[in-house]
Symmetry: C2
Subunit: 296 residues, 2 copies
């Protein structure tokens, strides 16, 4: 089944558009796990597995942030690969957040690396399209071949994203709007049975106005929305990413789930050793908040 439809079904089945972001740093890992593992990479691997197992029956998608595994060297690459396999074995959809970009045969190599069954075999990869169509085409080919997806950066969640993405073109549009049109065009050949494409867009929760503009501009494009929680976005901010049926976006929370025990509102309730209980509690809260906002 196409990625677009696998995503649709999985989110619908759990009635939850949440993405668990795994951007682990060793400081996030409780002492007990650090003690029994000989390396930081192995401790992070156990931390990930515990979170994945705790959340897999209520959170449909996991997003691994590649940088944190690359930071651990070759051992980190192994932890990433095992983590992807483990998440998939639990039935979760896996997005690798690598923001890869290159041209021609090199873009093809990245696509093979992350989307092919012989590689890391994620279900979808985040991609940066500054290089234009030649840099995207190889990803589209592999999305078709292996029923995988990509999420292309359109409007990112960081404070300075506007420096470049909000520049106005002489045609009157902004740069991110033109990018949106290109993403829509690239995705037009990979539309699933529910009307959404396997080619998605990354649109930050921290820019609700732009999210609204983009939802109207790209009605076949699923959005991956980062910036919820720690970066300041809330349920009310992401609501415009959803269509009238309550679908159309998935919303990532990384530190908000991984480090839920630290959240001020749970003060004195959880210790770091309770990170799984805290993450599950927060995941339910987040699902309910999103659900209320969307149906509201």
């Amino acid at each position: 089944m196409m990625f677009a439809d696998r995503l649709f079904y999985r989110v619908n089945e759990m009635n939850n558009p949440t993405v668990l972001g795994l951007d682990p740093r060793i400081e996030f890992v409780p002492e007990s796990i650090r003690k029994k593992n000989p390396t930081d990479a192995l401790a992070i691997s156990e931390f990930n597995r515990k979170l994945l197992f705790t959340l897999h029956d209520i959170v449909p998608v996991v997003k691994f942030q590649s940088a944190y595994y690359e930071m651990l060297g070759p051992e980190g690459a192994a932890v990433l690969k095992e983590g992807i396999l483990f998440a998939k074995s639990l039935g979760m959809l896996v997005i690798l957040d690598g923001k890869r970009n290159d041209i021609g045969s090199t873009a093809r190599a990245y696509a093979e690396a992350y989307l092919s069954p012989g590689g890391y075999d994620a279900d979808a990869l985040t991609v940066n399209a500054y290089l234009g169509s030649d840099g995207i085409q190889p990803f589209l080919e592999l999305c078709e071949k292996y029923e995988k997806g990509v999420f292309i950066l359109v409007k990112t969640s960081n404070p300075s994203s506007g420096e470049f993405q909000d520049l106005r073109l002489d045609s009157g549009e902004k740069v991110y709007e033109r990018m949106a049109d290109m993403v829509r065009r690239w995705g037009s050949g990979l539309i699933g049975e529910h009307g959404y494409s396997s080619v998605g867009a990354v649109v930050g929760a921290t820019y609700p106005d732009e999210l609204k503009i983009l939802r109207e501009r790209m009605n076949e494009t699923p959005f991956l929305i980062p910036g919820y929680g720690a970066q300041g976005g809330g349920a009310a901010d992401v609501v415009h990413g959803f269509d009238k049926l309550g679908y159309g976006s998935i919303v990532n929370s990384s530190r908000g789930l991984m480090c839920a025990w630290k959240n001020e509102i749970y003060k004195n309730r959880f210790s770091q050793e309770d990170f799984c209980e805290a993450a599950r509690f927060e995941a339910v809260e987040m699902r309910n908040a999103l659900s209320a906002a969307i149906s509201g």
Copy 2:
């Protein structure tokens, strides 16, 4: 010593602005090397070492294309790390072509991964700045701390690079020109004693007019020029990347050197087993062609 100056000295010492691009695919590796190595990754590792050893006394810089190592999984990560170490032990400067991009703490993680002594420890990394300053600042901090460099994508060598990079802004400039101004500004705090910054730009050999415009627009920015050889750029195309003293750019050749034995002009002269001799022959030709074009 700052990266900007290390690059300047190294290129000057060899009187050669060539960069050996290592984008190896297993098909490039001769039968004899494939036979004696149990895995593709190990065969590629030996292929790389042979090329590096053959060229290190005439080619100052090597660029590893990260995608081809990522494609080999965790074992590829180990091959990349060993390759970087080996190249540095031969005195070569190492650029990792990863076109990384992210924001805040994740950009910091990429910078730590590739530029810190505890990570892959390359001398420089290619970076994509679609996300704006927050995505670049962490790289600049590590460039200062560890005397490393970055090369930021400005005008890439691929046929469709103009789709996005050549869009005209309402201010009259093109997108890539605005990117050039941002790169120049980011680099202004990291200028070496020869007037060049440790923050460089990627500008394709296949766009000589844009190269000329950019050389004038960013007179403190060293250029990394891909697209020479296999992609169609020649010595006459890259000449505008150089300043009046013959410095200012480094020119990458990947397949042109790795697969020199296949070059039509050396027909019947080299077999695949002679790939090192062919690469050295071609490296001398390339150095002489660049030298003649620059001084001409």
